[in-house]
């Protein structure tokens, strides 16, 4: 390669702050507080801030999902259908969390290894299909959700735009899916936009939603205590929308390779009933996101069980049994084998275990044991002392009730 080739490449690596906008579209919000990081923030980590708030629900408010079936666990039955536990991770990248210590990754997961659960419910995701488009709800149902959301926010609906799958998808996708509604966007009187997706997920984007002074709401420069204060305020302010009885707020802070935190903000409805709490924590949570100026950018509301079918309660294996499977390579993970210390997971390498329901475009909402395994630090160019924890999943459902499958990590 000649020197001028190298010069051309080096110009391509010019600091992002120098590169002029080409889109011609002005940024709505100005400078990112963490832009000094050169745009290289990374990985996942978590510092949890927990606060229990008695919601100040307005009696006149209704849940956005009020007219959809709400699955409780009052009428339980034993599951008989076999469940496919296979996890599809997408094509590239791997799931890993970086922290200086595993204690930074504490979460308010209502499950802990000391709890002895013999069974847990499993649901079929009715919005799932093999073509990757999460669609199920009718136009009428989606409009109803949007209307209820607008009502909870006390804003008026101005206009509505419908996006069908066929608007962006082509190829060998069945007509039934192509004709389905992917999402509905509703513009509201204060320029708030409410988007309802075909699987019931709601996104609310605000044009400018400034928090009162005294709140520090950011991805990178908010402490654990400040995050707690922000979420106290926001979950109270949006109590009509969330419609939770007992809102449990927590923040999730991840670290980049250079060790900088990146915080996310969540709230879920903590129930006195353990299984309901587990379901709410994993599936029916809400997420709040700040913008570059510390204003509230958007809220995501999740409630996948409103488009799900209850299949029954299934027996689950113990943590010890799951750990045994993990050590024998019977797990699902996107972590490349090269990153595992000595090529094999050891008990000493397991830093943390959780029980979770995955909620990312899955066919079944089913429990997994989630393992945080410290990876070979030599494989990563990280700040001194930083650790990278790879994520490994072992199905929690007793194998008798699982379809035949092949583990990704099978030795």
């Amino acid at each position: 390669m000649t020197n001028k080739d190298i010069l051309l490449e080096v110009i391509g690596d010019a600091g992002e702050r120098f590169v002029p906008e080409l889109t011609g579209k002005k940024k709505k919000h100005s400078v990112l507080k963490w832009s000094a990081l050169g745009g290289v923030c990374a990985a996942a980590v978590i510092v949890c801030v927990i606060v229990l708030i008695k919601m100040n629900k307005n009696e006149s408010a209704i849940s956005p999902y009020v007219n959809l079936p709400q699955i409780g666990n009052s009428n339980t039955k034993s599951g008989t259908d076999k469940i496919n536990p296979t996890i599809r991770f997408g094509e590239m990248g791997f799931e890993g969390l970086m922290a200086y210590d595993i204690s930074e990754l504490d979460t308010p997961n209502p499950w802990n290894p000391d709890l002895k659960l013999s069974s847990l419910p499993v649901y079929r995701n009715l919005a799932y299909n093999d073509f990757g488009e999460m669609v199920y709800l009718s136009e009428e149902q989606m409009r109803e959700i949007a209307k209820n959301t607008a009502s909870a926010l006390k804003v008026d609906v101005i206009d509505t735009k419908i996006t069908y799958v066929k608007d962006f998808e082509q190829g060998e996708v069945p007509d039934e899916i192509l004709k389905s509604i992917y999402r509905i966007d509703v513009n509201c009187s204060d320029n708030t936009t409410i988007t309802v997706y075909g699987d019931g997920q709601i996104k609310i984007e605000f044009e400018r939603n400034t928090l009162p002074s005294g709140y520090n709401f950011s991805h990178n420069s908010t402490s654990k205590e400040e995050a707690q204060k922000v979420m106290n305020y926001l979950s109270d302010k949006y109590g009509r929308l969330l419609h939770y009885d007992n809102a449990l707020c927590f923040s999730i802070a991840d670290r980049s390779f250079s060790g900088v935190e990146n915080r996310s903000y969540y709230v879920y409805d903590r129930s006195d009933e353990l299984v309901q709490s587990i379901l709410n924590y994993n599936l029916s949570f809400s997420k709040f996101a700040p913008d570059d100026n510390g204003d509230l950018l958007c809220i995501w509301l999740n409630n996948p069980l409103c488009v799900s079918e209850y299949l029954g309660d299934y027996p689950i294996i113990s943590v010890d049994e799951a750990t045994e499977q993990l050590m024998n390579g019977k797990y699902f993970s996107s972590v490349p084998g090269d990153y595992i210390r000595n090529g094999r997971i050891s008990k000493e390498g397991i830093a943390k275990i959780e029980l979770v329901y995955r909620n990312n475009k899955v066919e079944y909402y089913q429990p997994y044991y989630k393992y945080y395994v410290e990876l070979d630090s030599a494989a990563f160019n990280m700040a001194d002392g930083l650790k990278n924890y790879g994520i490994f999943y072992v199905p929690a459902i007793d194998s008798e009730f699982l379809e035949e499958y092949k583990y990704f990590g099978e030795y």
Partner: protein, 183 residues
């Protein structure tokens, strides 16, 4: 969709991130690729590869400016393709012209070995330029935009743009010579 949301979709391993990227930045990245390759077909391939590369890098990366982040990926992919095809005289876009022009700024007698040092020098050089000149320089050598396009975008004559580029190149050459790079 806001950039932060798109990045979040990548982090959630939600493949609609690619859809949203295509919607918002497909045209932008196509422009960059086409500037370099001067071929719609090759540019489209580069842009498609851009989403996959972005998928592969987020996480762990969380770009502060998604447009530039994606544009940089497209630029690198297009330059790689340009290099691969250059021996076959394929392409004929702005890359060849840009390379010729940059040849004025740097000698070939001493091969550059320390790219990191050169990168630091380049950033230092860019920070020393007036905003307008820096933008014109980067429109030409980062985006590889034609002189005519730059002139139109900035409301200048092509001659005036060429003059600015010539002056910045002269200044860069002097700067690199002073630092002992690629004499």
């Amino acid at each position: 969709m806001e950039d932060l949301h798109i990045i979040e979709l990548y982090w959630q391993r939600d493949e609609s991130a690619i859809k949203e990227s295509q919607t918002k930045y497909g045209g932008y990245c196509s422009t960059i690729a086409n500037n370099i390759l001067h071929s719609e077909e090759d540019s489209e391939e580069c842009v498609n590869d851009t989403w996959l590369r972005a998928w592969n890098t987020m996480p762990p990366e969380k770009p502060s400016r998604l447009a530039v982040f994606l544009g940089k990926i497209t630029r690198n992919l297009a330059i790689d393709r340009y290099r691969r095809d250059r021996s076959q005289k394929y392409g004929g876009g702005q890359a060849a012209l840009c390379l010729d022009e940059l040849g004025e700024c740097i000698g070939e007698d001493t091969p550059i070995e320390d790219r990191l040092a050169l990168k630091e020098l380049m950033n230092s050089f860019l920070s020393s330029l007036p905003d307008k000149n820096r933008n014109i320089f980067l429109l030409r050598y980062w985006y590889m935009m034609s002189v005519a396009e730059i002139a139109k975008r900035n409301g200048m004559s092509e001659g005036a743009v060429k003059m600015v580029l010539q002056r910045v190149r002269d200044k860069l050459r002097a700067y690199l010579e002073k630092e002992g790079v690629g004499i």
